[in-house]
Symmetry: C2
Subunit: 306 residues, 2 copies
């Protein structure tokens, strides 16, 4: 397991609990230290030691951030591997990068699996949903590991198709996640906004969990944090976005297939980040220009702008 952050470390723990012997590596000494003492897990201090610690054919599972770090890790790792070794990229790489990497690694005889991993901080206990792409031989090689990481050995994992398809399916999964999150959030905002009914949105979330059409894991999580604090006044109204929401919107454009809700859910995050503030300033000035409508200045606007 290369990359012992929140995801990688917990996946190493789940594998070890399932009976696997896991060798962990992270370029950060602190991350390595956090895994020491976990039964079934050992750590090594560099890539060279990692290679020597594993019996051939090796399975090296990467849980490092997509982009440069994945690229660098692969560059360091690949020349050290032998034919029939397998690299699994469990990060959120763009699927086109994964298609390219599979071809590049094939020239070394190294097998490559692109694996989307869902489950976040709950995966250690509940298991991870795993969607992966690669050759049948590579898929077969990682199957025993996949079965330990998944919620149960026969559920929550799928060899989706050729290289790239795992990260593609994970990308769409995250795109859908954006839309479902935004849908729930907008609905709760409209209930919170209905002062005349004095609604207890935490109780409503809990009630919807049972028998309603919108019951879902995202609703379960929402019910839990609303129970602790339904006002959320201390939470800054800023929603980050990572690559996959954007890539899903771009994929829709590339295919020429309408995915307006997934795209808009992403765009609303940009708005939450204040990236529409200049637009809103322009609009305020236009109204002022043609109609003399009042504009507010920053000192009066109680910090709405981000």
């Amino acid at each position: 397991m290369v990359g012992l952050g929140r995801m990688g470390a917990n996946m190493a723990r789940r594998l070890a609990r399932g009976g696997a012997e896991v060798v962990g590596f992270d370029s950060e000494a602190d991350a390595r230290a956090a895994l020491v003492g976990t039964a079934g897990c050992s750590t090594v201090d560099d890539m060279e030691a990692l290679i020597h610690a594993l019996p051939a054919p090796r399975i090296v599972w990467l849980m490092v951030p997509a982009g440069e770090q994945t690229e660098e890790t692969l560059a360091a790792l690949t020349p050290r591997l032998l034919a029939e070794d397998v690299i699994v990229d469990g990060g959120n790489a763009h699927y086109k990068d994964s298609v390219r990497r599979a071809v590049e690694l094939a020239s070394y005889g190294v097998r490559f699996v692109d694996c989307g991993v869902s489950g976040g901080i709950w995966g250690l206990e509940q298991g991870y949903a795993l969607m992966f792409g690669g050759s049948p031989a590579a898929a077969r090689a990682i199957e025993p590991i996949v079965k330990l990481l998944a919620p149960t050995p026969d559920r929550g994992w799928l060899h989706c198709g050729p290289s790239g398809s795992g990260h593609f399916v994970k990308m769409i999964h995250n795109g859908v996640e954006y839309g479902m999150m935004q849908s729930l959030a907008e609905g709760f905002a409209l209930m919170k906004g209905k002062a005349e009914f004095g609604l207890d949105v935490a109780a409503i979330a809990e009630m919807w969990r049972h028998g309603s059409v919108v019951r879902s894991w995202l609703l379960d999580l929402t019910a839990e944090f609303l129970r602790a604090d339904s006002g959320l006044a201390d939470i800054a109204p800023i929603v980050a976005d990572s690559g996959e929401g954007r890539w899903t919107a771009l994929e829709a454009i590339e295919q020429g297939v309408p995915a307006p809700v997934l795209s808009l859910a992403l765009i609303m995050r940009f708005a939450s980040q204040g990236k529409g503030d200049y637009t809103d300033r322009l609009l305020a000035m236009m109204r002022n220009s043609f109609g003399g409508h009042k504009i507010e200045h920053m000192a009066e606007s109680s910090g709405k702008a981000k």
Copy 2:
């Protein structure tokens, strides 16, 4: 139980299974006949007989279509009831109608409960999510019935607040449902559209059910119908909408609170109904006018227009 359609008849059955004695009425003889023979359920042939069959204080639960039919049923029923009788409107009325009706019925001393019911055809077995508004006394009166209809006696029901609040919460629930459905559908369309990966969308839906962030009851249903037929070529691409999606969008405008994804999910249904065809014809003609771009005529367009 007044209104023995798909919802009302199954709710009567669930109540009877729970040990309640249910008297059913429907203006359609066929609907009445379908309930005959269900243990614990009897039927009557008119409203007068219904009143006489029930001990006071009566609880009359309406499962009739919102709008005119609900209005007519209430008009026929109300003068026959006594003080402390309770009418529950389990249909999908607009919450403002329910606020008005509660006031009107109060002048007869009749208690009114507006109750949103979710669960569809699955409610008979799994129970219904029930969200209701009304006075504390009215809410207390229907509690024993609510506990039989809900998935479990202590889960899946909530007295949300004053009259109107039940139908308001149900309206928002359905608005959220539109957004979640559209999110899932757009994601699966992008996977189906990715011919190069030859993805098995049915297998992906099934896999996502376990350990993924998007697991949900709507995904469970999607996995089930995709397993039977993932191409859906025989399903006309037309999505109906009922009142509550529209009302949610209007509520957002009334409150001045952004609910763009819920609103757009609704608007995409209008597009699916062909209500944007004239717009699209105009756009085709504009492109033709300024750029000489080709237009298709209806005979060539393979029936895209609805």
